[in-house]
Assembly symmetry: C2
Homo-oligomer: 463 residues x 2
């Protein structure tokens, strides 16, 4: 179906990218064969590192004439296999196109090259008194183009929304090699915003981004985080509902169960306080310290009624960084200490999280894989990690049956199979099963229009 990357193609790639930015040896390609998806490994035939837009155009021209897959890659932190070369071909890694072109203080906008790391933009924004609020746990290694491709959420979504709410400008190349651009340093745009939004979450199947513009917001002056340990996990979603019923407006509302906290404590070699309890993490941001104190007081009262064991307040950056260190290392800790057989990011209506947790425990019991739960309680977007030590690959079918139950559960509660990790290769089967057939038919038609030769990240989301 696709042409192998033969010596003629390699020669052309070397001409476009220079020998120092073309990799064809297994040793070098290993770095591009995995992302963070448990068990996924696909060695590409070649990898290239563009330094300018023109090279991307030339690559796509070559790929269309020779018919080989092109797989765009950001930081390699994806959890659905979106950046993996499942049909071979050439991985395009944007690690060298990592320049912040402009932080525009007065327009509250940032223009960047695709390979800029999320956390680097956050720091640069902060230096000018601005704030980029989208903070996935992988923010210190994921790229902003990857964030757009996956329509990344993160912990601050409950108040600040996802990447979708921040990308306002785009330069892109379609699979067919057509260059297009839209938007700019404007948030309100009834002229050419629709295709920017269509590209969000397209997982590299419709186009490659070569420049992006992001809206920034005012940096709140004060931030306070609250940790509340609970004996009973079900009291946590109940407490969150009560908090929202009081019209309190937190930046994040996260849940971490005790199993998760225990493996984090072990893996990080730190004595995590109250690690034997399930924890609720709430963050407030405001320009007004008194407002935060008021909201904390209100929340404190609710937490007491809802039987939290304690209420720990973190209002310095040092304390908060310590909490974030744990929160952002959960995935790694579970993989290392417990062995993740699957890590699902289903999303349900916020009030259905309690039922989702009940069902997840029942599924865990039925199949015999301990489950560790954490995630974005306030958005209904939970991360369910089913685990097994010393995986030997003998139970793949059973794991798949278990995953099918997890997805069916989320959908039956009015939810979706992915809240923020995307479909990629790991949820394709379930996408086909649980997404409306009319929706899928249009997605396929759009794919054909943007990438008629099906060379752009083939095998992802749909076939």
């Amino acid at each position: 179906m696709y042409k192998a990357i033969n010596s003629k193609i390699k020669k052309s790639l070397a001409d476009i990218f220079g020998k120092e930015h073309l990799f064809t040896e297994k040793n070098d390609l290993e770095a591009y064969a995995k992302d963070e998806t448990p068990g996924a490994y696909h060695l590409p035939e070649a990898a290239v590192r563009p330094t300018q837009q023109k090279q991307v155009d030339e690559l796509l021209k070559l790929a269309n004439s020779e018919k080989f897959p092109v797989i765009p890659r950001g930081g390699g932190t994806g959890l659905s296999g979106g950046a993996l070369a499942v049909h071979g071909g050439v991985v395009v890694s944007f690690e060298l196109m990592n320049r912040i072109i402009d932080i525009d203080r007065d327009n509250r906008m940032a223009v960047i090259e695709p390979g800029v790391i999320n956390g680097i933009l956050q720091q640069a924004a902060e230096k000018t008194g601005l704030f980029y609020p989208v903070n996935p746990a992988s923010m210190d290694s994921c790229t902003l183009a990857g964030n757009v491709a996956e329509a990344t959420g993160g912990a601050n979504t409950v108040r600040f929304g996802t990447t979708r709410n921040y990308v306002t400008g785009m330069k892109a190349v379609s699979g067919a090699g057509t260059r297009w651009s839209a938007g700019g340093k404007i948030f309100k745009n009834s002229t050419d915003q629709a295709l920017i939004q269509l590209m969000c979450g397209s997982e590299g199947t419709l186009g490659i981004f070569t420049e992006l513009t992001f809206r920034l917001v005012s940096k709140p002056l004060y931030s306070t985080w609250i940790i509340a340990p609970f004996r009973h996990i079900y009291d946590i979603p109940d407490a969150a509902l009560k908090i929202f019923r009081e019209n309190i407006n937190p930046t994040m509302v996260e849940l971490m169960d005790s199993a998760t906290l225990s493996v984090c404590s072990k893996h990080l070699g730190k004595d995590v306080q109250y690690k034997n309890y399930h924890q609720l993490l709430i963050r407030f941001d405001s320009n007004d310290r008194i407002q935060i104190m008021d909201e904390c007081e209100k929340v404190g009262k609710i937490l007491q009624v809802m039987k939290s064991v304690d209420t720990l307040v973190a209002d310095t950056r040092v304390q908060q960084d310590r909490i974030w260190e744990i929160r952002s290392n959960i995935h790694e800790s579970i993989v290392a200490e417990a062995g993740s057989v699957c890590e699902e990011d289903v999303v349900v209506p916020a009030a259905a999280v309690r039922t989702l947790i009940e069902r997840a425990y029942a599924i865990s019991d039925k199949f015999g894989y301990p489950v560790m739960m954490f995630g974005h309680l306030g958005d209904g977007n939970m991360h369910l990690n089913f685990t097994k030590k010393n995986k030997d690959g003998s139970d793949l079918e059973e794991i798949e049956n278990m995953r099918a139950e997890v997805f069916l559960t989320a959908v039956s509660l009015g939810g979706k199979i992915s809240g923020e990790h995307g479909i990629g290769i790991s949820k394709k089967l379930y996408f086909n099963k649980h997404v409306d057939p009319g929706y899928i038919s249009f997605l396929k038609k759009i794919k054909r229009e943007f990438d008629p030769s099906n060379i752009l990240n083939p095998g992802k989301i749909i076939d």
Copy 2:
């Protein structure tokens, strides 16, 4: 090209909708021949009022087999002619599908039929302690499906975003008659959100909505509005920039020039305070009264430095409703008192508004049409009304030349030809001129896939 609505088609329409919901007489059709776009008038051949989804399916089936245009219509408040039957055909008015299906307090979501009026949803949300923040000036008559079709903004966008940031679920029918659905009562969705976003701002050219789900947010407990009159209009954008530089976070930042306020005063028969001054209107919302007071104090100091003549604070609903009455009647007042020859809603990067105002005055002088300016200063989305009393239609070419300069100005400042009114029929020419050709080529391809017979709202945005 299209078939006329003959007696056979009328018979079929009567079978689908019932005779009481089919209109074919000129007298009845007049109500569907206009929206709020100055000078635009297109009498449809028929109009129908569906009461259920099934009728929409049947209409599209009929339209595809007989080849006649179908034009979906909300409240008829559009300012770009999006709901007008420029090629004849059948207008589908959703006035009877206006049921709020569900306000879900705990999930903070509303499910509605397409014809629900924006302001009705706002009231219903408020009764449960929630808030739907998207408030176009036409909120008391525009429908939510119309808002989605136009990706409507409004005055609160600067803090709360546009319709795009709130629609989370959709049932739709494509031009080809394919029914599809996506999303639900979930804000975070990496499964099937892209096409919902593609439909936002599609102006009825890709599909018809039959059910919509909107996210609601917490209702802030306190709201304070500030009005500051200025002698010199340029001091207003300068003041706004200073406010944003201080990381103050208002809900709206509006400008109304003295010409606008004078015609409002006359038309409404009210003595608008400081109507001979240009005015800056700022709104703050918070759960904390002290925070608002702090922000007002900070803003007050900036306004003083920036030479505002006075600072009026409105912190009761009655006072605020009085201000909103003026603000929301501007369009009508200008049309009635000054005669609008064109009303453009260009958007520029926020810091470029001062230059946009300078250029608008220069264009007004050059062509001899007095300009009245108001709009969403904080978003860079200004409404420029060029006026003439007793229009006689003799100067259409001159007006078009003037519009061309306005659009070129916005684009040259890094902006767009429409910030919130959409393209429709009135900006098609300029869309083609100022939007990236690659972008337009994909929009055309997408249109063909969703509506291969080109029966859905033909003649809008692109040909």
